[in-house]
């Protein structure tokens, strides 16, 4: 499912290099690191791979592997700007053809998953290979509610995890991402999130995602959803704003992917009642702020939603798409302070989560619902483009 330009002809210097692949790994426990090295050794011929790590390494354990020291970073749950800059510096120094950047806690990735991500770049002419993780139904919810639908509708790509923490990248893709990251590191913001999918779309590079099975995703140190949502969503909104000239052009979406229906029927969580109550409480207190951002139709729908029974609570897909788009517009226009704006989005997101849990509990597979949400975002993209260009036209 490659989407754009093929990889260019590799230079003679890089072809002459012995190691074709640089694997960068974040700092981790020594036992996990040794497990990862075992997987890397099983996945690739020893002379073709180079591992860059922040861990201490005894070469006697894996004598065939070449391991170098990587500069320390603060990556705890996602790859940051500094990681991309360091990865490109190492790749250029070592003259490799591709980089496999593994986020924190990569021990659960199998050798075949590692091989698939690397081979996509080395052999299939893809510039950016992203993993498609198999997650439990109620995991990665910010990605399912906002990141995936928004990226899919605006940038016309079906990459399921736009903020994947493991990436296979060609050298030119690494260079591009390092250039984007350099702006943040030079502004003393090394921990800023980078959006590889958006960069690849802007550059016109080929990308695809690959099923890598189960992956234990590291969680942010700050377990509070308020902080995580503001951080991730704010970063994506800012990136979308910076790339407005690109995503407003009409693009054809790749054909839909066939995904297996989950036979698992997940029961409704006890959290649903609390989330719905949280939404109701916010509805009584934050109406004044929401009315600055949302059109009257959305407010009316939220009013109806606020009196719904928790067991039957559903956030309609079209309403959710419209809410996210309107918040994105308000983010761009600075209708209210951006911190306030993202804070006011949190109860609405929790309402979506409550609806999602109810829908999966009713027997609909989680992936099917997420695809329906993404389709609603796509259908409402003309509204988004229209309001982006003419913000004063407040469509109801």
């Amino acid at each position: 499912m490659a989407t754009a330009d093929p990889i260019p002809v590799v230079s003679a210097a890089s072809a002459a290099s012995q190691a074709h692949l640089l694997v960068t790994v974040a700092a981790m426990a020594q036992e996990q690191f040794e497990n990862l090295l075992a997987n890397v050794a099983a996945a690739f011929p020893a002379d073709s791979v180079l591992v860059a790590t922040q861990n201490e390494f005894a070469s006697s354990a894996f004598p065939a592997l070449r391991v170098i020291v990587a500069p320390p970073t603060n990556a705890a749950w996602a790859s940051t700007a500094a990681d991309f800059v360091h990865a490109f510096q190492l790749a250029r120094e070592e003259n490799v053809r591709a980089v496999l950047m593994l986020g924190p806690g990569p021990g659960s990735l199998t050798p075949s998953a590692l091989r698939e991500l690397a081979n996509a770049v080395l052999a299939s002419g893809v510039d950016l290979a992203l993993p498609r993780y198999t997650l439990p139904p109620h995991a990665g919810l910010i990605n399912s509610a906002i990141l995936y639908p928004l990226t899919r509708s605006l940038f016309a790509t079906r990459i399921r995890f736009p903020q994947a923490i493991d990436l296979g990248m060609s050298l030119r893709m690494t260079e591009r991402l390092a250039a984007a990251a350099q702006r943040f590191t030079s502004a003393s913001q090394p921990d800023t999130l980078i959006w590889p999918v958006n960069e690849a779309i802007v550059a016109g590079y080929a990308m695809d995602d690959y099923d890598v099975g189960l992956r234990a995703l590291p969680q942010p140190a700050e377990t509070d959803v308020n902080a995580i949502l503001s951080l991730v969503t704010g970063s994506l909104f800012a990136d979308i704003e910076a790339k407005a000239a690109v995503w407003q052009r009409p693009r054809r979406l790749p054909p839909p992917r066939i995904f297996p229906d989950e036979p698992l029927r997940v029961e409704s969580a006890a959290e649903v009642v609390r989330m719905v109550e949280s939404f109701r409480f916010a509805y009584t207190n934050l109406q004044e702020i929401w009315s600055l951002v949302l059109p009257p139709n959305s407010l009316l729908s939220l009013k109806r939603l606020s009196v719904a029974d928790p067991a039957a609570f559903r956030m309609p897909e079209m309403l959710w798409a419209r809410i996210v788009f309107d918040f994105l517009i308000a983010f761009r226009l600075r209708t209210i302070n951006r911190g306030h704006l993202l804070g006011a989005l949190i109860p609405l997101y929790l309402a979506w989560v409550a609806g999602h849990i109810n829908i999966t509990a009713a027997g609909t597979s989680s992936e099917r619902h997420i695809e329906a949400v993404a389709a609603a975002f796509e259908a409402d993209k003309p509204y988004m483009v229209s309001r982006w260009r003419w913000p004063d036209r407040f469509n109801s």
Binding site: H138, A139, L141, R183, A187, T223, E241, E267, A269
Partner: protein
Amino acid sequence: MLNMLAVIFQENPYEVVPPAFADNTSIWHHMSAALNQSLYRVLSLFIAVLPGILAFFVALAVFSLIGMAISAILRRILIWFKFDDRMARSRGNVEWTPSSSPTDLAARVSFWICVLVGLIIGVAAFDTSYAAGAPLPIALLPYFTHAVGAILLLIAGNLIARFLARSVLIGAVNAQLQYARFLSLGVKWLVLVLTAAMVLDHLEVGGDIVELAFGILFGGIVLTLALAVGLGSRDLVSRSLESRVERSGERGAATHDSSASGQVETIRHF
């Protein structure tokens, strides 16, 4: 009794008795003289400060025109240099994204700098001419300069009050504090009362009375909040805090035994 009767039956009881002391000038004459003197003093002061006022407006108008010209030239130069594109490429801090383009921003800043310079020069000219007319003081004029500062204080205070009230409201709602609106209103009025006291103090209205009243009012609001939270809403606060602690504990674990079949289900936002 005989005297009383004599008074009652006298021919003209309202006949004016001529004063013991007689003056040729009437009270109207005195009033007229006082008004003339006052008018003369005001007109003299106005004539003394008129050049200053004219200089103020001329300086403001001239520098505004210069500002418009500089702004237009700067805008053309920056567009020619593709300044916006260069900034977009080199800008690392995406958190700082002004709603206007960098070119617009630079042009506006240059215009307003010129206006500010004109304002300063105009005020200096006015100040010189007013100093010349100082022998004829009018106590109201210094209030104009204070009033400008007071208005700026009032605007800033209102903006800060609104910002803080929203911050507290959103934070408290997301923290599920049941008294979110009450807290937000309390913060808003604290800042507004503080602003009002500062404005009155800046205008030198009220003197010590304002300070005293502000101290009592501010202290009263804080005490009321403390008593309300500490005594009246003790149960409410403890329930809110308990539920908050429980929630954060749940989020840390993020695991719920939710189904009848005992299936352990995890909610992970990322």
